[in-house]
């Protein structure tokens, strides 16, 4: 399946259905621009709602605020008993640890699957692919009981430790695909020179795999940053809340009073993801096009 989608999406298009006339071209652009505006309008509206005076938020459908005022950011930041600074910090800690865990643990397993010979390799590889199909709901409750008994509820451990055990098997698959594309002659030459498996992994595979490691790191970060379900289950103490839980608490406590503050914090929560979109767009799009990732 991945082979069918394995082309570089950034290659210039070659106009398969023939050239359009100037009128057709104008119509297509008109349609695409209209669609773009419709897509972006809610996001831009939220951005503008976060900086406009409170009484104007619901009175106006325009995207341009009459005056710009960052007061809602200040109100929102301190809108709950615990400040949003804490939530952002917690999200950052969980996300960064997840990135490290995923990159380290998944690349170790992927190296074993892609390069090392050992009994049962194909069997374990099939099992690994099988785990990709299992919805997490099946393991959810026993895992919760396990972490509860370990005293890990209200810590980041249940969110982070599984990543160091390569629980995001999708990234193993992604890396195996990439590692297989690295010329075998390189490891064979290194083996001749007396390098062991560890040195080959560390000195050859990892340095040559920076694109796939970066893709895995970025998607790990974004998915963890946006994750709501995991924190919802494991974090009950407001001091441990991630940004997504903070927003949820805010919307429940102030749904009718402080929309400005809510939109300000919502906008801020999207900034890190937007940053990755802005600077690593090509990596993200290629990641999706070649592997069929869902987001």
């Amino acid at each position: 399946m991945t082979d069918a989608t394995m082309s570089s999406v950034t290659a210039p298009s070659s106009a398969p259905l023939g050239r359009r006339g100037p009128l057709g071209s104008v119509l297509v652009h008109a349609g695409l621009i209209a669609a773009s505006i419709a897509m972006l309008y809610p996001l831009l509206w939220m951005l503008s709602a976060s900086v406009r005076p409170e009484d104007e938020i619901f009175a106006s459908t325009s995207l341009w605020p009459s005056s710009i005022d960052f007061a809602s950011y200040l109100r929102g930041w301190f809108g709950l008993d615990v400040s949003f600074g804490r939530f952002f910090w917690n999200s950052l800690v969980v996300s960064v640890l997840t990135v490290i865990g995923n990159v380290v643990a998944c690349s170790l397993a992927a190296y074993a699957f892609a390069r090392l010979r050992f009994a049962g390799r194909n069997f374990w590889f099939a099992i690994m692919l099988g785990t990709l199909m299992i919805p997490y709901h099946v393991t959810l409750i026993p895992q919760y009981v396990l972490f509860l008994n370990l005293g890990w509820v209200n810590t980041f451990l249940p969110l982070v430790v599984p990543k160091f055990l390569a629980s995001d098997a999708f990234f193993i698959f992604l890396m195996v695909q990439f590692f297989r594309g690295i010329p075998r002659e390189l490891d064979e030459a290194a083996m001749m020179d007396g390098c062991g498996a560890w040195r080959i992994y560390w000195k050859i595979m990892l340095p040559l795999s920076l694109p796939v490691l970066a893709t895995a790191a970025i998607f790990s970060f974004i998915w963890t940053w946006d994750d709501f379900f995991g924190p919802l289950i494991y974090l009950n103490d407001m001091n441990t809340y991630t940004i997504q839980l903070g927003l949820r608490t805010f919307v429940d406590s102030s749904s009718t009073s402080d929309w400005g503050g809510l939109f300000a914090m919502s906008t801020l929560s999207l900034v890190p993801v937007f940053f990755f979109f802005l600077f690593f767009q090509r990596l993200l799009i290629e990641g999706i096009a070649t592997t069929g990732m869902k987001r």
């Binding site: 919760y144 055990l165 062991g196 799009i285 069929g292």
Partner: protein
């Protein structure tokens, strides 16, 4: 990992007259040890966090368990109640299937349509692609669900826009007939990632096929139905399976938009939301485990069904 090199030495020593058994173990280790060392974290995770819990969950699904007292064996009572005496389960199934059936076709049609427009050498392709992809990337967050809750509220942005055309809209999120549609629209809004996969698929179709067809006088429509669509069926199939499984598992938007209730009148009670309520609201862990296994069964049946029927419509010839 130094162990790997050490064992190589031991193997050499074994050949020089050490006891044979020790040599054999050492050579087995030298041959397979490194692989298992690298696989170790994943193996621990697999047994400790996947296989073990899956077995435990299957056991729990036949028990009554509230986290405090030990699980009590109840046989098939949980499943029997799900099948016959749980109106909320029926409601959740109905809502989830409705969501899948509405959101996936709309989303994929839109994704395919835009991908085809973009594929024909449009100027500014990368800009459009970026704009259409952005919602997919942001859409899973609570912030977007919060925004949606406002957009479709009674005094929300959508109704303000409609009012400019003299239309008075209902309160979309608090009306049981419309609330599911707000979630469908949110899903369709995120058509960007299947669109990117479609774009990659379209690039695979050789241009000379179109050239030959148009020399033979085939119209654009005909070319689309006879060339583009059949050759794209593997990608359509892939997108459909991925998006459907994903839609079965949707949680966050329904949770935020309904404030965790699945209301009004269970109209946004996604299956996963019901499972969450049973497990972490009512602490019926045994019952929730049974619900989880039913979800697995549904997804497995759906996947098997798609693969079985795919041979009748998915075009694989290369």
């Amino acid at each position: 990992m130094a162990a790997v090199q050490d064992t190589a030495v031991v193997v050499g020593a074994g050949a020089n007259g050490r006891p044979a058994a020790q040599g054999r173990w050492a050579s087995i280790w030298a041959k397979h040890g490194a692989g298992y060392m690298f696989l170790l974290p994943w193996l621990i995770g697999f047994f400790g966090l996947t296989l073990g819990p899956a077995v435990a969950s299957l056991y729990l699904s036949f028990t009554s368990f509230d986290l405090i007292r030990a699980p009590e064996w109840v046989g098939t009572a949980n499943y029997a109640r799900i099948a016959t005496a749980d109106p909320k389960f029926a409601a959740a199934m109905q809502v989830t299937f409705l969501y899948v059936v509405l959101s996936v076709p709309f989303k994929l049609t839109f994704a395919l349509l835009v991908a085809i427009l973009l594929d024909r050498g449009v100027r500014g392709l990368t800009v459009y692609r970026a704009i259409f992809y952005l919602p997919s990337l942001l859409g899973g967050s609570v912030a977007i669900a919060v925004l949606w809750r406002q957009l479709f509220a009674g005094d929300g942005l959508i109704n303000s826009l409609l009012a400019q055309f003299g239309i008075e809209g209902p309160s979309w999120i608090s009306h049981p007939n419309y609330s599911i549609w707000t979630l469908v629209v949110l899903s369709v809004w995120q058509f960007g990632s299947p669109m990117i996969i479609f774009l990659a698929g379209l690039r695979q179709i050789p241009t000379d096929m179109y050239e030959a067809a148009s020399l033979d006088g085939a119209s654009k429509f005909r070319q689309f139905y006879k060339i583009t669509l059949p050759l794209l069926t593997p990608v359509i199939f892939f997108n459909a399976v991925v998006q459907t499984i994903d839609a079965f598992k949707a949680f966050t938007p329904a949770f935020i938009i309904s404030g965790g209730t699945g209301g009004p009148i269970n109209s946004t009670l996604f299956y996963t939301l019901y499972l969450y309520q049973e497990a972490f609201g009512n602490f019926r862990m045994g019952y929730a485990s049974a619900l989880a296994w039913i979800l697995v069964l549904i997804i497995a049946l759906f996947t098997a069904f798609s693969f079985l029927t795919s041979r009748y419509w998915v075009h694989y010839d290369d």
